[in-house]
Symmetry: C2
Amino acid sequence: MKLKNNLSTENGWQIRENKFNEDQIVITGSNFMIGNGYLGYRGTSAEWGADEYVGCIVTDTYDMADGKWRELCNAPNALYTKLYLEGELVSEFEGKINDYQREINLKHGLYNRKLNWSANNGASVQLDVEKFASYDNLHLVPMEYTFEVQEDTEVTLITGIDGQVWDLNGQHLKDHELIVEDDLTVIKAVTGESNIELDVAEALEIVGAKPKSEEIIKEEKRILRQLKFDLAAGEQVTLKKVMSVYSSNDLANPFEAATRDAKTAIEAGYDKLKEVHQTKWDQVWEVSDIKVDGDLEAQTLLRFNLYHNTICTPAHSDKLPIGARGLSCQAYQGSAFWDQEIFNMPMFLYTRPELAKNILKYRYHTLDGARKKAKDLGYYGAYYAWVSGKSGEELCPDFFFENVLTGRKIRNHFNDWQIHVSPDIAYAVWQYYQATGDWEFIEDYGAEIVFEIAQFLVAHAYFKKDKNRYEFIRLLGPDEYHENVDNNAFTNYQAQYALDKAVTIYEKLQDTAPQKLIKLLGSLGLGEEDIDNWREMVELIYLPQPDEETLLIEQFDGYFDLEDVTPKEVESRLKDPHEYLGWPVGVTVRTQVSKQADVVQLLCMHNSFDEEVMKANYEYYEPRCEHGSSLSPSSHSIVASKVGNTDEAYKHLMKSATVDLYNTNKAIHGGTFIGGIHTAACGGTWQAIVKGFAGLEVKTEGISFDPILPEEWDELEFNLKYNYNDLELEITDEQLVINSVVKNKDAIEVKVNDEVKIIKPGEEVVFSLCS
Amino acid sequence: MKLKNNLSTENGWQIRENKFNEDQIVITGSNFMIGNGYLGYRGTSAEWGADEYVGCIVTDTYDMADGKWRELCNAPNALYTKLYLEGELVSEFEGKINDYQREINLKHGLYNRKLNWSANNGASVQLDVEKFASYDNLHLVPMEYTFEVQEDTEVTLITGIDGQVWDLNGQHLKDHELIVEDDLTVIKAVTGESNIELDVAEALEIVGAKPKSEEIIKEEKRILRQLKFDLAAGEQVTLKKVMSVYSSNDLANPFEAATRDAKTAIEAGYDKLKEVHQTKWDQVWEVSDIKVDGDLEAQTLLRFNLYHNTICTPAHSDKLPIGARGLSCQAYQGSAFWDQEIFNMPMFLYTRPELAKNILKYRYHTLDGARKKAKDLGYYGAYYAWVSGKSGEELCPDFFFENVLTGRKIRNHFNDWQIHVSPDIAYAVWQYYQATGDWEFIEDYGAEIVFEIAQFLVAHAYFKKDKNRYEFIRLLGPDEYHENVDNNAFTNYQAQYALDKAVTIYEKLQDTAPQKLIKLLGSLGLGEEDIDNWREMVELIYLPQPDEETLLIEQFDGYFDLEDVTPKEVESRLKDPHEYLGWPVGVTVRTQVSKQADVVQLLCMHNSFDEEVMKANYEYYEPRCEHGSSLSPSSHSIVASKVGNTDEAYKHLMKSATVDLYNTNKAIHGGTFIGGIHTAACGGTWQAIVKGFAGLEVKTEGISFDPILPEEWDELEFNLKYNYNDLELEITDEQLVINSVVKNKDAIEVKVNDEVKIIKPGEEVVFSLCS
Ligand SMILES: [Ca+2]
Ligand SMILES: [Ca+2]
């Protein structure tokens, strides 16, 4: 089935590129990437190098070059392979493409490239390449590179490790050592500032023909093998390679580990490696897949997003963040924003909850970074970094954008006024408990996180005596265009929620783990009066209410006094298309045009508003939203579903799901790289379906659904884990069928629209959907 | 004695311009102006018109033209007189100046012009013109215009009323009626928006020669008389004129009043008018003069400033503001800033206290404007306008400056974040009581002002529970370059002072006027709990304290974290000399460079800091101050004196005293008029001497001096009124002599350095000054 941009799918499990598009290699490099949470290898051709943005981004290799940005390293590329027919390089950029197809197989994370190509000198070849980032041994990237010449041809094959890598912000690796050991080649290097050793080993095997000559060539940061063949027409050769990557943050001796794994892997053979890799993917899809009947395009886009949200997440560690651009490139410092908990994590909460736990443990391990930020800004408690890397210290700089009209740097306040990141994390901790019932996690990790966040909120809040309420002053909400605002509704509700859960956790710990509680309070220096502070704030935090007549919730104090004008009109006021639209002097500042969902985001995450209020606010804020952030469409989709506007819900879903796949704008923007997978939008897509169309809401007492399918969809199927019970859902226009697998431990209360039923393990229950 | 800019003085009572300077006519037009608080008539030549910035600015004639700025009217000019010798116009711009001198006589407010001039056709004349704005009948501007031809000459004299006036922001007057009544000419006009009738009558008399012909000429908004003379060599003619101005805000029938006064005045004769005018000035100088022996330049400059602070003040009314540029032009909307109470008023407090009372009554009459501003911004109580005209409603626009690099308007927050204007007015009310003991004023006016200001401070303040203190958030202090700052030290101390006085007044009224108090509390809706609020805030308002080691008081939260760099360095970062230096994106914003005294202003107005603290803060903040405002030098002078640095005190005094007289920069700045007398600096000059060099401090129990004279000065003499007792002060390096006049009513406690003496009426006491 044809998709846009010369893309197609066969059965919703793969995406094929049917025409080579030179301008899009940055975008397709990200879209067709393979990865496993430890590393991400971009969807690039074997003969490409730094200029074509080849990238194998390895997690936990943070380094700052030339005092610029602390970001992850791009490892030397051990799949580097160039093929010459009678001296002419096989490349889509030259010669004649007779037949071409690239594919990312979402089901098993396989990258495949088929090329039938003729050189200018007439020689031609059929090339077939496949590679994958092993989900079994995360350090391996096996590749099978097969070529068959159509005529007798003198073929030269140059393959090895290319250390001349593309680096976004300054060269991170230095002191490259080019090593040959038995029949392995290795590049050993170390990061300039953070002094992490990163070693890449290459093992290979040639099948089908004997090279007439073979020699090792060492260039600057490159170690290559040059093999020459005299091939007869129709003769086929296969190069089997294994790239193995280790850093000194993985284990003490990365060189030994890299060489050992390369050797064992090449001996095990490509097919064996592929088999164990595919089993792991099968287990992932078994819990994560969402089936949509009647809309193959949506089915394919949906899986593309689930795939990328999966491979960007370091499932193997509880000390590493999910990057805003995942491992698709070095952008955004490989660091986490509030996206991690609010957009990426929910998918795992209800499919692979242990991943959600790892994400929150990461926040536990980076508490000191949050405490430092609070202290530096004159607060106490935990003020989580806006841009959070390994240590959790604030990585977001004071100056990010430039005023293109004045040539001066702009001071934005993402790193000291956008406080909602802290209560968002407390919100995620409670969501985790509600989804899993894992109280032990709260006792050992969650409580300290939420208590310290509560303390930060106490430190930040001001009390307005005459109005008898607490207020939060000088904020940024999710709508980053409007800084220096007071009582941002989203922030105030999240803060109240966080404090409320802090009190709940405190009171429950008094029963379940009094000793742990005392020890924790001692270590945090908290006493009963601090808990009373929390209780008082829960009561008295100012929560902007829906206006009696208009039902509208004001985004922040004075928002409705701003000029009410459309995003199009505001954009017409730009003097330069690259002007920053936001505070302090952007064209949106004194208007109601927002960058992304703010009140709509509130409605997404708090179910205390009735449908009438949600509808009024959705219909007010959506047309005034400029969707300047990829986080915006999925939240709008969820609320559109909640208010029964499936057409708009579907439109927003499609926008969220295609932000990368159908992205055609230049990913290089005035010299700055702005490509890379929008991982938050990927997680948002899952939510738009399960929370939006299926209408899932989870409470400690049970779960509920409020299903409403888009017209195009005949059936929607997905799985949910609730308190470690596996549930299977099938939704059509007529009914919702929910199946509790036999081995489940609990009977679960399920409410659909207003009907409540209890489902015991092994039971299947059908809810009819009248309308 | 020569002064700068071709100026000179004979005995410190006049300033003479000895060479005509075409480029400076805007500046000298203001410096040489005459006025009487009702009108200000610029120092211009009789033959000039709108192009030479002729201006007779009349108070209480506010009008907004073309939706621009509400400002005072420039009345039709009834002194308009053109002299032609053999058809050639007598003018400094043409022909040959043989001898030239202009003078402003400060003693009696007389403008005088002497010109010996030859036309290109050879004819020459000695012209001698004098005019004054009567201090007896404020509506009169008499002029004596005498000319003597050196050869037989046919002379044409055109004189009348020129209604084609210069208007700063749009034409205010319309429907001009040109009227001849008996031998008077009148122009009747009305303001376009505010519908105020403004009538100007002209009466004249010719002495010394009979005109051979006379005819009335009516042009567009002009009514003129053309008189032709055949004069013999040496024959002298004198034109005596009287201009009389009334508006419908002065009385019901301005036309009748203008014509009546013009007639009676011309009949009384120029000399009689001048005589009664001069007596009034003698009474003013008798109380206001300051004598300095040993420094004639300072003596002259000092009197220039006292003169201008006197003529800019509407002593005849308690419903009109002192304009930031007085009546010298239409700039700054003829409106008052905090300058009025903190810079202009103190001179009157201790010399003409009834004027100070009028100023504060103006604030009483404009309470509703302040209440409206508070309500509009979501507060209650009285939030006084930053720019206050007749009604006291906020006249300061949201947009004032333009970003010259982007061409966009800048939104500054002078009109909603610069709250100190309200407590400044409460401060002035208490200063008035301390200087006069006039408790009745407090009962009838002051209490309501101070109570409503206290309520505004309650409405604005936030309480920080964990620090147990009240804070003021998102402010501008006097240093307007730094907006959006918290706990501006100046603002917090002023707020605490205002609330403290509110409590004091409340408690004292309980004894002195319980009925008035109950009535007032009733009308303001105040109860005992509101007074308790005030008491609590007095205790708990955060007052930034001097740092233990550095003794420095932080200007606002986080000020010391800003880049510490010199004004010169900051200015070198300008990309355009006309860039606005302040918030939000000016080059000073993230530096410690301030626009004007802020902490230094605090030290000026609060005597609770010991000298060590004052010295440390003066020496820290002065070099970081860019003195972008004319209010800055006088405050720095006062504190420099307080810390014994007389050289710098003298240097700052001279800067403050010469901001206009020695001003050489173009008063037309990229098309915008930025001329006009800096009246605040004039009031500031008086304070720099009496509060600075004499070290006057006034408390309810008595007054004290801490004198330290600049090296140049042999003796300093001035008068003070304290509780309506007249004191005469003489200070030399050796001693301070204080004389209490016989008719005084009280014995007064006087402290000089640490010596305390009681002075009874009729007594003279000498304090020796050891060092
Ligand atoms: Ca269908
Ligand atoms: Ca001397």
